[in-house]
Symmetry: C2
């Protein structure tokens, strides 16, 4: 185990982010916790174990598990296992497992210990770090949740080997988003130069990719741990468009990452229309997404607009009843702006402008 | 409206505690919030209004509402009403309404605004202040919840006029507990001298009683907002015994306050047995509870011991598997100690020692 970094969040709570050499190294570390632990897997990650630890919950993999009833199941098992407030929940899986385990840890006896082992690229660079926990509620993504940083996040690049290409790209979209939000160009350049190594999942390259991406996220969350200062919200670049797309496709055909790639490109176009975003920068960033294979030219059907709009209007980022979007002035410079409905409609329905 | 005090909790979050002159003064203040609010009542407090505000939930009064399903109902209504993250939940009622409204506010969009209007003595001096939110879970009291201080707590002494004697005594037990935990003797002496005025609910006396009691609670919660430093836990004096009594009586015959009075007297006896508590102090404090009419001599039946013990073992205050009890060295001096089961059994089953 090698410590990558420590994120310092609200009330001085810290998240240690550790990199495991391999699965054995990871297992050794986790074995050290002893017995006052409760594990959360999904049907994919449970398969990684010959024998599951005694106290565990296995969730059906996928977004449909991200529901209050799964939270109740985890809490119930914690109680069955006699877990006390000084006990530990270990979430071992992708974003859904991480978000749910962390939500459960935040409310079980008003907060117990929490270790997250993100096993997808998306969870490593996003869900596991930063303390946001959530479940979907009445079809609305991440509508109910809390802020509760994990005490430690254990990253094992080996777990990325068995991901499907779709799932790998799901996470890579957030990495590219982080590249645009970074205060420097290191990650952006790395993505341009190392495309082949990244797509062939060369382990050392992926370790660097994850580390660089986490540094960007860490910068934002440390400055604004509970998203009250208008800084952390910049990480939502592309997400307002993305959530509406995901919700109106009923979490079916669009993965979160693919939707974020699409949404970020819509935000870049919106920025041009609002004279906020430099056009050359927007074109370069759009090309970067395209080079990794994202369907950024997708447009929703005219008949789906009403549903898309209704989902937009339920977004959490609102002020005075208007939905706010993150736009980019340029590299690392996000701004929060309301957009008028006709512009949004044009952006998601009309033909691409470049 | 008169500001009594401001409690400063974690991350610099503050709770303003305001005292209303009367119901009209309270209504004026609440009317100022405009429309982005969602109200939570119970069947008792809903009766105080000729016409309920448009966005509201009315919970069945009593502990049986303190359940995840009520939380879901509140969250669902917030969503129906289009409440955004800058919207406000107003909890108007006793401890159950306050705890549930605050839990909902803490998780709705990961946290929206919160005003609490405690309408019982118990809620005024305890539930509404300090940020603890909770629901019962699988029969276990306050097993699931969060820390989320209200932005403001509005106290209107007029609402105490219609409480039953049982409900009034329910709150008064926490006041007496605060008197024992206070760093000075002002509240203790007030309770000794003003017994008749308190029991006849003389408004000015009650306002002073609530203010003195809140000062004690404030002292503890400000020093240890999320109960991680072993200071705030002192407020649990009597509660380990009390929760087990309430749980094993299935939240039926024992009110929380009556159980706390009983439990505090058991903790005083335990302190004598452990040579922690000064005997003269314990006798005085026990007499104070008795003078206000609490059944502190109750003993559980031998046949109920196993269930009582099982509930004890599920208590949140555990270290290394042992349940910890708050004992008193003397006025304002709490200590946390594990107790052996035979001693506990003796204390709750055997005849009173004084």
């Amino acid at each position: 185990m090698k410590k990558l970094t420590t994120a310092v969040l609200d009330q001085g709570k810290t998240t240690d982010i550790l990199l495991a050499d391999d699965l054995k190294d990871l297992a050794n570390h986790l074995g050290g916790y002893g017995r006052a632990v409760m594990w959360v897997f999904d049907t994919n990650t449970a398969k990684l174990f010959k024998q599951l630890p005694p106290a565990h919950v296995v969730l059906e993999s996928g977004e449909s598990s991200k529901h209050l009833s799964s939270l109740e199941r985890i809490l119930s098992t914690c109680l069955d296992e006699g877990l006390a407030r000084d006990g530990r929940i270990i979430g071992f899986g992708g974003g859904v497992v991480c978000d749910l385990s962390a939500f459960a840890a935040s409310v079980y006896m008003r907060g117990c210990r929490l270790t997250l082992v993100p096993t997808t690229l998306l969870a490593m660079v996003d869900a596991a770090v930063g303390g946001k926990t959530a479940v979907d509620f009445r079809g609305m993504k991440n509508m109910v949740g809390s802020f509760y940083p994990a005490g430690e996040v254990l990253i094992c690049i080996d777990t990325l080997r068995t991901l499907s290409d779709k799932e790998f790209l799901n996470g890579l979209a957030e990495v590219i988003k982080h590249a645009l939000l970074s205060q420097d160009e290191e990650l952006y350049k790395f993505l341009l130069v190392k495309k082949n190594e990244i797509l062939s999942r060369e382990p050392k390259t992926l370790a660097t990719l994850v580390e660089l991406s986490l540094e960007v996220k860490k910068w934002y969350i440390e400055q604004d741990p509970t998203e009250t200062k208008g800084i952390r919200q910049m990480l939502n670049l592309g997400h307002t468009f993305a959530h509406a797309l995901e919700s109106s496709s009923h979490f079916g055909s669009w993965s979160h990452g693919a939707a974020v790639a699409w949404g970020t490109c819509r935000a870049l176009e919106a920025g041009i229309a609002m004279q906020v975003t430099d056009k050359a920068y927007a074109i370069g960033a759009t090309k970067l997404f395209k080079s990794y294979g994202y369907d950024i030219e997708h447009r929703i059907g005219r008949g789906d607009w009403i549903e898309f709009r209704d989902h937009l209007l339920k977004d959490k980022k609102k002020a005075d009843g208007k939905v706010l979007f993150v736009l980019l002035e340029g590299q690392g410079k996000g701004v929060l702006r309301p957009l008028e409905m006709p512009l949004i409609q044009h952006l998601v329905i009309a033909k691409p402008i470049f």
